[in-house]
């Protein structure tokens, strides 16, 4: 849904990431597209190996070799468009900025300011040799040092590169520290905001002195230091107990509303997704196979994999005799053929599934890439070729749904 009215905080279009390993090219993410309007929560559900984590790390440009982003665009809504247009005109598409067209240092600068991310395992996401307060203050300091809202006349890349090896040497002198007094205050203020009791004392403590839940709160504090437009949460509560999970989900909800952020929530737990998300995308073997709002996915889902996923969860209320199960395992993502990737596990596999199913629109928001959609509702088929779609959008920005 690449709506022209700038309600979308972030639009991902045909994103592809491949890992060039010795055994072959693993296309972990293959043509993923979705958009998240401002202030909404978009959930990505999928099992391990589905590529959900690789997708969000590609958005944040955190993919290390042998992985590489091989295609697609990541368009972000940002007020700094004028600043960027003047220096990188080709990065502008419509009123959003395509991050993949920005140079490496500017792309790195966007992290923490426009988009920030929280991870699954809080203990491994903090450096054990520095206090929690100091690490949060670092995030505050980085934003403060290159704060462009006052749109200083210096070109963008100069302000970004103002911090190099020499400055680091200076800052690591005991007298002078990268983190200023104000940043430390702001960090303590952030700790209080995320509900950590006597934050001044806690800021001086090290990560191993925090409980799992407390440390996750600290990570959220660190993520909102730069008041980002988009917050990505990669399995934020999977490592926590149920009672702590609810606390953290409530906190995420509160922060999201307060800063009017768009959130991309990654989870393998369908309950968490149901609780938090406005729209959901189901990922399987590197593709989004179905996407829509909660009722689309949980009640009238079309794709057999989504059905299988939902029915495989034992329910709390009644005790069914047997769970109905998807047999087989996740396919090996090396040199995938062109057929539907779920074909050998799909109970309703048909002959035409040999060729890649197009994306059908069951309704405005509910998209599914499976021929069954064609069979059941004869919905509007939509298989414009991506190139033409790109051309249409730039020409007159007419509304054109597309993308799997």
């Amino acid at each position: 849904m690449l709506m022209n009215d700038n309600t979308n905080a972030i639009e991902i279009d045909q994103l592809s990431t491949t890992y060039f390993t010795e055994e072959g090219d693993v296309n972990a993410v293959d043509g993923v597209s979705f958009a998240v309007p401002r202030g909404e929560v978009f959930g990505i559900v999928g099992e391990s190996g589905s590529g959900k984590s690789v997708t969000v790390r590609s958005i944040m440009d955190l993919i290390q070799p042998p992985g590489e982003i091989t295609g697609g665009s990541i368009r972000l809504q940002t007020e700094l468009k004028e600043k960027i247009t003047s220096e990188y005109p080709n990065a502008i598409s419509g009123d959003t900025v395509d991050l993949r067209k920005l140079p490496e240092n500017v792309r790195q600068w966007v992290n923490g300011r426009e988009i920030s991310m929280i991870f699954q395992d809080p203990n491994r996401s903090f450096n054990k040799s520095f206090t929690v307060g100091h690490q949060i203050a670092e995030a505050v300091e980085t934003n403060a040092r290159t704060d462009l809202t006052n749109l200083s006349n210096k070109p963008l890349s100069d302000t970004i590169d103002s911090y190099g090896m020499f400055e680091f040497m200076l800052d690591s002198m005991p007298s002078k520290s990268y983190v200023s007094e104000e940043s430390m205050e702001r960090a303590i203020e952030l700790l209080r905001k995320v509900g950590i009791s006597d934050p001044k004392l806690r800021a001086e403590q090290y990560p191993h002195e925090f409980s799992g839940g407390m440390l996750q709160r600290a990570m959220i504090a660190q993520a909102i230091a730069g008041e980002p437009k988009v917050l990505i949460a990669d399995e934020p509560t999977s490592a926590l107990d149920v009672t702590i999970q609810t606390q953290i989900l409530d906190l995420l909800d509160e922060m999201q509303r307060e800063l009017n952020m768009s959130v991309i929530l990654i989870s393998h737990n369908l309950g968490v997704v149901a609780r938090m998300c406005d729209k959901v995308g189901v990922m399987y073997a590197g593709e989004i196979v179905e996407k829509g709002n909660l009722t689309d996915i949980f009640e009238n889902s079309v794709h057999p994999y989504t059905d299988g996923l939902i029915n495989a969860i034992p329910s709390l209320e009644q005790t069914s005799e047997r769970l109905d199960v998807i047999d087989g395992n996740v396919p090996n993502l090396i040199d995938m053929g062109s057929e539907c990737r779920f074909i050998d596990r799909c109970p309703k596999a048909m002959e035409k599934c040999r060729t890649e199913p197009p994306t059908y629109s069951v309704d405005e928001e509910h998209k599914v890439s499976c021929y069954l959609a064609d069979e059941t509702q004869k919905s509007k088929e939509d298989n414009e070729i991506p190139m033409i779609k790109e051309f249409n959008k730039n020409k007159d920005g007419i509304k054109s749904d597309g993308g799997k």
């Binding site: 790390r57 944040m60 955190l62 790195q108 600068w109 966007v110 992290n111 923490g112 300011r113 920030s116 991310m117 991870f119 395992d121 491994r124 996401s125 903090f126 450096n127 054990k128 040799s129 520095f130 670092e138 995030a139 980085t142 934003n143 911090y163 190099g164 090896m165 400055e167 680091f168 690591s172 990268y178 090290y206 191993h208 002195e209 990570m219 660190q222 230091a225 730069g226």
Partner: protein, 331 residues
């Protein structure tokens, strides 16, 4: 009793036990020494009566445990016994040679650390690049080169062919070089000291430099793969902070203990290097006393090395607890 102090006391008690066991083992050497001490000292034609007199004089005829207690008590008061040959107290023999050995060891350590850490970092940063390849091959060669042969080759090439460094043997001590600098504002003392110590320091330090480079590179690569580095990048931190402030600190912390553990290797290396450069250190004394079966000196040197090693290790452990916040609280 706070966690930290109980940890320190535990560590001290452990070190004392280890040191005591080592001293006992070194003392028991006395049982295995071939032949009789007196025969070593006196000329062949000495009469048996004279031999007995020497033996009782040295207290060798008393039961073993008495000698042991006397030996240990003597040790505690710093009396290391007398050299069989020169009859002089061992301390007098050892102390003047201590300074050159320590100077050499410290110089070698500095040479190693000054080159190893930067090389390790650069090759970890630019993984699989030409620089990484050269550094890895260089450190492999460094680890595989015997230090005495390296010393000879350095003397041959740098000393003889290029004449950059003196091959003569009388170096000033660092203290005297500095005193010349301070008192009569002459820098020649320091230069002379530097010219003399460079080759031996490089020879002794090379193995260490190669080892430290491999460890720094490995440690750095491990840290860069950790989740907290990805999180730091996700925070938008500039690269120097991510690489040097976060990754490097966690790489250096474990190196402290490894460096301390390898002190033994340094002392062993200095014995060989002192032989090559005829460096008037403890190593030379050790070889002479072995060749001349002067056992009190040998035993004292062994004990001195043990003390140094145990001391360095305890120091490293304590330093480790202060540097690594996780350890000191819940050991």
């Amino acid at each position: 009793m706070s966690n930290l102090s109980s940890f320190l006391i535990k560590r001290l008690i452990h070190s004392i036990i280890v040191f005591w066991v080592a001293v006992t083992a070194i003392f028991s050497l006395r049982l295995f020494i071939p032949g009789d001490i007196a025969t070593i000292i006196l000329p062949e034609d000495a009469s048996p009566a004279l031999r007995d007199e020497v033996r009782s004089d040295l207290g060798l005829d008393r039961p073993m445990y008495e000698q042991y207690i006397e030996y240990v008590l003597g040790l505690l008061q710093g009396d290391l016994g007398y050299s069989y040959l020169s009859r002089a107290p061992v301390t007098e023999l050892m102390l003047p040679r201590l300074v050159p050995t320590i100077e050499l060891a410290v110089a070698a350590m500095i040479v190693a650390i000054v080159f190893a850490i930067p090389f390790g970092i650069i090759s970890a940063q630019k993984r699989n690049s030409p620089t990484d390849f050269t550094v890895t091959m260089g450190s492999l060669a460094g680890v595989s080169t015997p230090n005495f042969w390296l010393g000879l080759m350095l003397v041959l090439v740098l000393g003889v062919w290029f004449g950059l460094f003196p091959t003569s043997r009388q170096p000033l001590t660092f203290v005297s070089a500095v005193s010349i600098l301070i008192f009569d504002q002459q820098v020649y003392g320091l230069i002379d000291w530097l010219r003399h110590i460079t080759l031996p320091a490089i020879t002794l330090g090379t193995y260490y430099m190669a080892l430290l480079t491999r460890l720094t590179r490995g440690g750095m690569l491990d840290e860069l793969g950790q989740l907290y580095i990805t999180a730091a990048r996700a925070k938008g931190l500039p690269n120097p902070i991510v690489n040097y402030k976060h990754a490097l600190t966690n790489t250096l912390i474990p190196l402290i203990t490894i460096v301390a553990l390898n002190i033994g290797g340094l002392i062993a290396g200095s014995i060989v290097v002192e032989e090559v450069f005829a460096w008037p250190g403890v190593g030379n004394l050790f070889i002479d006393s072995i060749n001349r079966q002067d056992w009190p000196v040998v035993q004292s040197l062994l004990i001195f090395v043990t003390l140094g090693y145990v001391g360095m290790n305890t120091l490293a452990d304590i330093l480790y607890t202060f540097v690594n916040p996780e350890v000191s609280y819940n050991d």
